[in-house]
Amino acid sequence: MNSQELNECIIKFKKTKDNSYFEKIYTLFLPKIYRFFNFQLFDRQLSEDLSSEVFLKVYRYFTRVNLNAGTVGAWIYKIAKNQLIDFYRSSSKQSRNISLDFIPDHDSGEAIVDDFFYRFIQQNSADPANILTEEEIRGGNFEAANIFSNTSLIKAFIDLPPIQKQVLLLKYTEEMDYKTICRILNKTETAVRAIKFRAIAKLREQLNEKQRSK
């Protein structure tokens, strides 16, 4: 969907309140918002709940805000970011920011960790035809062409601070422009670039460390 079509959708949904236009916007943004949550919480159930809540808000208040194709994504992401902050705040007493399935206990051995990521990848593969086999997921290593077949990148990714995760997700996974990212995170472009730079440098450092320890 290009920006012209998106603009049309926005205007028509506001005018007619026809749900089919909302559904177009919904199907465009739901996977993105779901990923935004899931790559920070690493919990499928929670991510589903939170993204549902975000789109309920979008549906309710869509007619009351002035948006175009350039800003609608930023608005939805901003709601999601606020939702995530609310979630962290409400669950801060339990001091839990990733799923209880995943126990980041280094003594428990790699097996549990690998198992978690195997399930994570399998559960979240949108296209059933693309689901990787267990061997593919476990067998690969950092040098493999498909780095994703190895879980080490996600494992390194988990340790990044939330803001670095968000910048990497928005910039590379969703391939957004800096203007939109700045709007979502309420930061200047220079700040976003600096965060991205630091995040990548840190990721490489951690991946190298893990490789060396193997």
């Binding site: 309920l56 549906y59 948006l67 996974t173 440098a201 990721l203 991946l207």
Partner: protein, 301 residues
Amino acid sequence: MKNKEANKKKIDEKILKELLYLMERGKDSTILLKKYPGSEDVISDYKKIFNGIRQFSSLGPAQDFTFRSLRDIYALARTGAGMDNGRGVIAAARFRPAFIKPLIVFVSVLVFFVFSFAGTIYASGSSVPGDVLYGVKRAGENMRIAVTPYEKKGGLYKEYLDERLDEAEVILNNSKNVLPEETAVLIKDIDYTYGKCIEHGCLNKDNSEDLMSRLSRVRNRYRQEYIQNNTQAGTGNSMNENCSRAGTQDHESTDSPNPADDNSGSASNKSNNSSGTGESNQHNGNKNSYGSETGQKMQNE
């Protein structure tokens, strides 16, 4: 060894910086290989990370969730459950530039400090020595003097002399809470301010008669207090000193337009006694003692 590692890390970061720069402009990264020989591994590492994060997009929600969630949204929207005014959601659609927030914080902190400082100085206006805010008051005055041009300083000093005399009258009339040292400092300040007034030539006979009379009244009152306190303590030495001080008092009261008579009241007995001994000491000329200096200044004028 450590140095080498740090150096390598620096070069790696340089490569990353340039790689990001090239990628954003859609240029080929082969230039980097020429610029940094032996950097193939580093560049391929970075590229793998970029590609890996890009491939995160292959993970998405399950199909059934997409439909289930949509159904739930319609149902909840119809019932209006959990509905609020949506202020936060609507506010999220206003995109302010990122520098606005720090700017607002900075300005409000600045305003807070300026106003609280000004407010403290204002509140300290009626403080006397021994009060918590007295230091603030004096600091404020010093600042005002520092920023006033020379020709206007005289008026300011006169104003402050008036202020000091007010304070002295207050603390000499009810001196329970004030330490004698503080009173001494205040009297010294009075002398200093008086000297400054004379230096700037802002005291003449027309405008300063009232000030002069107050000045001498305060001095006398101070001397009485001082003597009273010391005679109560009852040591010979301090008596001697007091006498000499009292002597200067007499010497001075001949110059100043207003002698001690009108406010001495209850303390007159002791005052008379000491001034009797004082006369004999007067010619010894205790130049260091308080009052003689200002007395001379007055004479000069």
